[in-house]
Amino acid sequence: MGKVKVHRASPSLDMTPMVDLGFLLVTFFMLTATAAPEEPVSVDMPSSVSEIKIPETNVLLITISKEGKVFFSIDGKYNRQELLNKMGERYNIQFSEEDKSRFAVMSSFGLPIGNLKQYIDMPPDERKNVEQPGIPVDSLNNQLKDWIIFSRMTNPSLRIAIKGDSDSNYPVVEKVINTLIDNKVNRFNLITNMERTKPS
């Protein structure tokens, strides 16, 4: 009696290719991921049809919030240490080595230089609760100007980008732009979102 034996498939299937692919993707995303920098304010950018991407390095970012506060950020750890050093000399504020290394890993900030040391000395999770008044850009006390000058001295290949909130008032933007022009920065970038509808 030739009994036909039903071939039973083994219930454990070979997962190796899937796992390989999984790890490949993990590696890819781990290497490409850049942690989104923390921002003290959320900024809703206007949109434009421009398709130029912002460079990844050597960027000096000036953020303008809805209320017209100005925030400053620059990339590069060593540049930041150097910058703080120079700013400290300019305003006669003594920043310790620890301050500098803490400043090097900070995100953007919007404080007058006088309050900066105190801010740096705070633990990172307390910094979030600080109400930042913005960097002074008035003609009498234009600290943004010094930040820009010393940043460019530290890193001459800097590109300057302005990230403004759609609803920020023009006079503040004008002040920032005039500060830039006064320091012979005639070419800068305005960061925008992608336009959703293409123009006809």
């Binding site: 781990m30 991407k53 403004g164 609803d167 023009y170 022009i181 800068f188 305005l190 925008t192 123009p199």
Partner: protein, 172 residues
């Protein structure tokens, strides 16, 4: 040396109290590792930002030095755009006795105006004057509009008190 069991080669059928080295399976359960891998994969996929923000490059003219002579232009070529409050655009052609008109940022608004004026006025020069009530968005939008309509000559200039009065008088 007989005591050393050699990888469990084949001493299975020997009885008689000999301790047999247990052959452990070469298959290990990879499930937790795979779980973790996929957890990480999900995490990185969700947190990564692939789309970088766009940027608009603008180049402002250098500040004129006192000894520089500013170029003079024919007023017939000049079109002034004043960015007002609430996304309004006031615009006029020429300088003397201008007729102020109102438009907006829609495709039928400013874009049409720019196209028409550009066709009528050869070598048109646009002066963009954002008022104090205008917002940053307005400035970006108008610069964007310049790119879309491919305007060659435009400048961002500060608003003057004459312009403010013109806007007020126009009652638009």
């Amino acid at each position: 040396m007989a005591e050393v069991s050699q990888g469990g080669g084949g001493g299975g059928h020997k009885k008689g109290g000999k301790v047999r080295a247990k052959k452990s399976s070469t298959r290990i359960d990879m499930t937790p590792m795979v779980d973790l891998a996929f957890l990480l994969l999900t995490f990185f996929m969700l947190t990564t930002t692939l789309s970088k923000p766009q940027t608009m490059e603008i180049t402002m003219p250098e500040k004129p030095k006192p000894e520089d002579k500013l170029p003079e232009v024919n007023e017939k070529k000049v079109v002034t755009l004043i960015l007002g409050a609430n996304d309004k655009i006031y615009w006029y052609h020429g300088i003397t006795d201008p007729k102020v008109e109102l438009t907006d940022f829609s495709a039928n608004g400013i874009r049409k105006v720019l196209m028409q004026q550009n066709a009528q006025i050869p070598g048109m020069i646009l002066l963009i004057k954002p008022s104090d009530e205008s917002r940053y968005k307005n400035m970006v939008d108008i610069l964007d509009e310049m790119n879309i309509t491919n305007m060659q000559r435009y400048a961002l200039v500060p608003i003057t008190s004459t312009d403010k009065e013109l806007v007020k008088e126009s009652n638009l």
